[in-house]
C-alpha cells in the first residue's frame, strides 16, 4: 500500500502545481490547453508563466499575486486531494478486474496485480477448456456469446419495428382510445418485467419455449415497447407538424409521410433506442436464469455469474476476463456518447 499513498501524494502535488500554473496563465490571458500541459512539468510551469510576457495587456496586472495567497493554494490542494482520492476509488475495481483476468490461479485473487500475468483465462474462454492446478475446467463461453448476440440483434430489430410505428401514431394522430392507450403504456413502463416471472415461465412451459434463448426476444421486445414509445413520441412531438402537412398537400399518404419524413428525421432517437435495446440482453440476468437450464444455452450474464457463484464452476479469473470482454465495449460506448445518453434518459423522465 506504500506505493499507492506515494503515488497519490505525488499526483495531488502535481495536479495542484498544474492548476496554479493554469490559474496564473489564465490571469495573464493565455489560451487554455497549453498552460494545462506545461503545468504538468513539475516546478517549471509556474516560473515559465511568471516570466513569460502576457499576450494581451491584462487590465488588472496585480492579480497574479492573488493566485499565491495561502487560502487559494490550500483550496487547490484540498480540491485535488478530493479528486485524486475519488479517482483512485473509482479506478480500484477496474484495475482489480484487469489484474484478476490475468491471474493464472482459479482461486479468489488476493493481489490487485498478479506476479505472473498470463492471457490463459482469455484463451480458456475461447477454447472452452484449460487446466487450473490439477483440474481441467471447461466452459461454454463461445455459445453464451453467440446466444446473447443473436438475442440482442433480434431484440434490437423487433423493438425498433414495433416501437417506431406505434410512437408515430401516438405522436401524430388523434383517435378514440388514445388517452387510455397512453395511460396503459405509462402504467406498464413502471414495472420490471420480471414481476410476471411465474406467468412467463408458465407461458413458455405451455408453448414449449422453455430452454430456448431466442424465446427471450419476445419478452424483451414487449418489455421495450412502453418506455421507448414514450421516448420516441416525445421526440416526434418536437418535429414540426408543418412538414407532415406540406407532404400531405403534395399527395403523400400516411405511410409515405412516416417513411419519407418522420423516419429520416428521427434517426438519432431511433439509434438511441436501437443501441439500448441491443445492450439490454447482455446485462439481463433474471429472466434467462429462470427460463434457461442447459449450460450451453445460457446467455452471458447467467454464465459469468455462475463463475463466481456456483461451487462447481468457481473461477474468478475467468469471470474477470469475461466481464472485461462484455464491459469494455459498452463502457467505451458510454464514455464516448455520455452526453447523448444522459440527455436521452433525462428526456424520458421529463417529457414522460
Amino acid at each position: 500500500m506504500g506505493w499507492l499513498s506515494i503515488t497519490a501524494i505525488t499526483l495531488i502535488l502535481l495536479f495542484t502545481h498544474q492548476s496554479l500554473t493554469y490559474q496564473i496563465a489564465q490571469k495573464q490571458g493565455h489560451s487554455k490547453v497549453i498552460p494545462g500541459l506545461i503545468g504538468l512539468i513539475p516546478g517549471f510551469g509556474i516560473f515559465y508563466y511568471l516570466k513569460l510576457k502576457p499576450p494581451v495587456r491584462p487590465s488588472n496586472t496585480g492579480k497574479t499575486k492573488s493566485v499565491f495567497n495561502l487560502k487559494n493554494i490550500l483550496g487547490t490542494l484540498l480540491l485535488y486531494t478530493e479528486l485524486v482520492l475519488l479517482g483512485i476509488i473509482v479506478l480500484i475495481p477496474v484495475v482489480y478486474v484487469i489484474g484478476t483476468s490475468l491471474n493464472p490461479l482459479a482461486g479468489i485473487p488476493n493481489q490487485i496485480w498478479p506476479d505472473e500475468p498470463t492471457l490463459k483465462n482469455f484463451i480458456f474462454l475461447f477454447e472452452g477448456e484449460a487446466q487450473y492446478g490439477t483440474q481441467v475446467r471447461t466452459n461454454e463461453f463461445v455459445s453464451w456469446y453467440w446466444n446473447t448476440l443473436q438475442v440482442a440483434f433480434l431484440t434490437m430489430i423487433f423493438s425498433v419495428l414495433f416501437v417506431t410505428g406505434t410512437a408515430y401514431v401516438f405522436a401524430r394522430y388523434k383517435f378514440k382510445g388514445k388517452r387510455a392507450g397512453l395511460l396503459t403504456i405509462l402504467v406498464l413502463q413502471m414495472f420490471p418485467s420480471f414481476l410476471g416471472l411465474i406467468a412467463i415461465f408458465t407461458l413458455f412451459q405451455t408453448f414449449g419455449l422453455l430452454d430456448q434463448p431466442l424465446a427471450l426476444v419476445i419478452i424483451y421486445t414487449a418489455g421495450a415497447v412502453p418506455f421507448n414509445v414514450w421516448l420516441i413520441k416525445g421526440y416526434l412531438q418536437g418535429v414540426p407538424k408543418e412538414l407532415d402537412e406540406s407532404a400531405r398537400i403534395d399527395g403523400a399518404n400516411k405511410l409515405q409521410i412516416f417513411f419519407k419524413i418522420i423516419m429520416p428525421l428521427s434517426v438519432p432517437i431511433i439509434s438511441f433506442v436501437a443501441v439500448t435495446q441491443f445492450m439490454a440482453p447482455w446485462l439481463d440476468y433474471i429472466l434467462p436464469s429462470f427460463v434457461i437450464e442447459t449450460e450451453e444455452r445460457w446467455t452471458l450474464a447467467v454464465g459469468i455469474f455462475r463463475f463466481i457463484n456456483d461451487q462447481t464452476r468457481i473461477n474468478y479469473p475467468a469471470f474477470s476476463a469475461a466481464a472485461l470482454m462484455i464491459a469494455a465495449p459498452i463502457t467505451i460506448l458510454y464514455i464516448v456518447f455520455q452526453r447523448f445518453l444522459i440527455e436521452g434518459i433525462t428526456a424520458g423522465a421529463n417529457k414522460g
Binding site: 410505428g165 406498464l188 433474471i286
Partner: protein, 517 residues
C-alpha cells in the same frame, strides 16, 4: 421371480389409459419387444395393459376414475368455455395413482415388476394462463363484433341515402384511411397485451390463490383463497409455518430505508461532485469528468459482481486491510476478534465488524453494518449519473445571472446558494422520484452483492437481512426449495400499488401530461 417395485410410478395423462389405450398393442410392446431377453421387457407398457384389463373387468373402478378424469370441461370444452372453466375452478382433478391392478398379480410373469400407473391431474397454472389468454381474446373479439355491427349500420345508412352499394375497393381504401391508426397499433397492442399485461394479470390473480410449495399441480392443485394471503400479512400471521407477516414488515421498512437513503446519498453525492468539478481551479475538466463517470459507464451488473468478489470474507479488500495494519487497529478497539455477544452495547455493537475477518457482506450478527455498507457502496455506482447530469445543467445556466449577482455584491457562496442550487435542484428533481422508484426495485445491488444475505432461511420466511421486496420475491419464485408463488405475487401486487401511485403522481406534474391530457 417377482420383483416388486412400487416406488417409481408410471406417469400418463389419464385420458390415454382410460379411453384410448390398445390392450393388444400394449401386450405386443411389453412382451414381444422384450424377446431379446428379460432385460428388455417393457414394464411400463405391461402395467398399462394390466390397468386396462382391470378397467374392463371391474366397471365400478373404471367409473370411479372416469368420473373425475374424464371431466367434460377439461377434455371436450371449446377454447373459450374451457378458458372460463379453468379460471373459475383452477382445475378439479389432482393426479392419482392406480394400484388396483396389483390384484392381478397372477398376470405378472417373471421379469416384470408391478408399478403404480399415475393418471396425471390438471395443471392449475396452465389452466389459469389459458383462461386469461382466452378471456383477453374474447374481449378483442367482442370489440371486433361491435365494430362489425356499427360498420354494417353505417353502410346500410349509406345505401339508404344514396341507393347505391359502395364498391369493395373504395370500401377498403376508406377503412385503411379511417382506421390507419388502429392498423399500425395492432401488432404492438397484441404483443403488449399478451406478453406484458397478461403476466401482470396472472400475477395479480395468483395473489388470491394458495399456489405454494404445498400446492404444486398436478399432484396438489391450488385454488382460490380470496383475501387470505393479505390477511396473513396484515395480521402478522404465519403461513405454512413461515412467518410471512412479521417478515413482510421488516423487509418493507428496510426497502423504504434503502430507497430513501440510496436516492438521497446518490443525488447529493452527485451534486457535491458536480459542484467540485465546476470549480474554476480544475484543469482539463472533461478528462476528470470522463474518469469520474466510469462507474456509470461500466455495466452495473458487472461492477456489482466484482464488488461481491472483492468484499468477501477472504477477498482482496480484507487481505489488503490486514496487510496495511487496519486489522490490528480494529482488533485493539474490539471491533474485530471477539464474538458479537462480547461486543458490548450500544455503539460498540453497531461498530462490530466481524470475528475473524471484516464481514462486509456476511455479518449476520450485525446486519446494520452490512446494510450501511451497501448504501455506501451504492454511492460508487450511482453518483456519476447525477454528477454528469448536473454538470450539464450548471453549464447551461445563464452567465448573466452570476454577473448581475456579483454586481449586486453577492459572495461566491451566496451565488451558489441562491442561483446554482435552486436551478439545478429544480431541473433534476423529476429524476429524483424516478430514481426513488428505481432504487425501490434495485434488484441488482442487493442480489449480486449480498444475495440478500446474511441470513435468510425458513425462520425468516427466506428473507435475508438485506433483502428488499424485489429480491425476496425473486427468491420466493425461483428457489426450487422455496416456491411460494402466492406470497411472491402478493408482494408484487403491493409494489405495483406503491410504485404505480408514486410514478403516476409524478407524471401528472410533468409538462408532457399537461399538454397531452
Amino acid at each position: 421371480m417377482l420383483i416388486i417395485d412400487e416406488t417409481r410410478n408410471l406417469r400418463t395423462n389419464g385420458f390415454e389409459v382410460l379411453l384410448e389405450y390398445d390392450v393388444f398393442k400394449a401386450f405386443q410392446e411389453s412382451i414381444i419387444g422384450g424377446l431379446g431377453g428379460r432385460d428388455n421387457y417393457n414394464t411400463d407398457a405391461y402395467n398399462k395393459m394390466l390397468v386396462q384389463l382391470m378397467f374392463r373387468f371391474d366397471e365400478t373402478i373404471y367409473e370411479s376414475y372416469a368420473e373425475v378424469f374424464l371431466n367434460p370441461f377439461h377434455e371436450n370444452a371449446g377454447f373459450f368455455v374451457k378458458g372460463l372453466w379453468g379460471v373459475i375452478t383452477l382445475g378439479v382433478t389432482p393426479s392419482r395413482t392406480v394400484t388396483e391392478h396389483y390384484e392381478l398379480t397372477f398376470f405378472i410373469p417373471d421379469g416384470f415388476s408391478r408399478r403404480g400407473v399415475e393418471l396425471q391431474g390438471n395443471f392449475s397454472q396452465q389452466l389459469l394462463l389459458r383462461g386469461i389468454i382466452s378471456n383477453l381474446l374474447l374481449v378483442y373479439f367482442i370489440g371486433i363484433f361491435i365494430w362489425n355491427i356499427r360498420d354494417a349500420f353505417k353502410t346500410s345508412k349509406i345505401i339508404e341515402e344514396t341507393k347505391k352499394v359502395p364498391d369493395q375497393v373504395q370500401y377498403f381504401k376508406d377503412v385503411y384511411e379511417n382506421a390507419f391508426e388502429y392498423i399500425v397499433l395492432m401488432p404492438a397492442l397484441f404483443l403488449v397485451t399478451f406478453i406484458s399485461v397478461m403476466p401482470i394479470l396472472f400475477g395479480m390473480l395468483v395473489a388470491f390463490t394458495n399456489y405454494d410449495a404445498q400446492h404444486i399441480p398436478p399432484n396438489n392443485l391450488f385454488t382460490w383463497v380470496g383475501l387470505e394471503n393479505f390477511r396473513v400479512i396484515f395480521t402478522l400471521n404465519e403461513q405454512g409455518g413461515l412467518p410471512f407477516g412479521t417478515q413482510f414488515f421488516r423487509v418493507f421498512s428496510w426497502t423504504l430505508i434503502w430507497a430513501f437513503a440510496s436516492t438521497f446519498t446518490v443525488f447529493f453525492g452527485g451534486f457535491i461532485q458536480a459542484v467540485i468539478l465546476a470549480n474554476n481551479r480544475v484543469v482539463f475538466r472533461k478528462i476528470w469528468r470522463s474518469l469520474l463517470i466510469l462507474p456509470w459507464a461500466i455495466p452495473a451488473l458487472i461492477s456489482q459482481m466484482v464488488f461481491n468478489v472483492m468484499f468477501r470474507d477472504r477477498g482482496w479488500v480484507n487481505q489488503t486491510l490486514s496487510n496495511i495494519g487496519v486489522y490490528d487497529w480494529l482488533l485493539e478497539r474490539g471491533m474485530l476478534g471477539r464474538s458479537f455477544a462480547d461486543a458490548g452495547t450500544g455503539l460498540d455493537r453497531l461498530l462490530y465488524f466481524g470475528e475473524e475477518n471484516i464481514q462486509w457482506i456476511s455479518n449476520e450478527a450485525n446486519p446494520w453494518f452490512v446494510r450501511i455498507f451497501i448504501i455506501v457502496l451504492n454511492i460508487w455506482l450511482g453518483f456519476p449519473f447525477f454528477m454528469a447530469l448536473m454538470t450539464g445543467v450548471m453549464t447551461s445556466i445563464d452567465r448573466s445571472l452570476y454577473e448581475a449577482a456579483s454586481i449586486d455584491g453577492a459572495t461566491g457562496f451566496q451565488q451558489f446558494r441562491f442561483i446554482t442550487m435552486p436551478l439545478v435542484l429544480f431541473a433534476t428533481s423529476p429524476l429524483l422520484i424516478m430514481t426513488f422508484a428505481g432504487n425501490f426495485n434495485n434488484f441488482g445491488v442487493i442480489y449480486f452483492i449480498t444475495q440478500g444475505g446474511p441470513g435468510g432461511d425458513f425462520t425468516t420466511a427466506f428473507a435475508g437481512q438485506t433483502d428488499i421486496l424485489i429480491s425476496w420475491i425473486y427468491k420466493l419464485t425461483t428457489d426450487a426449495n422455496v416456491r411460494w408463488y402466492s406470497m411472491a405475487s402478493v408482494f408484487s401486487l403491493l409494489i405495483f400499488l406503491i410504485i404505480g401511485t408514486i410514478s403516476a403522481w409524478n407524471f401528472t406534474r410533468t409538462r408532457a401530461f399537461k399538454e397531452e391530457m
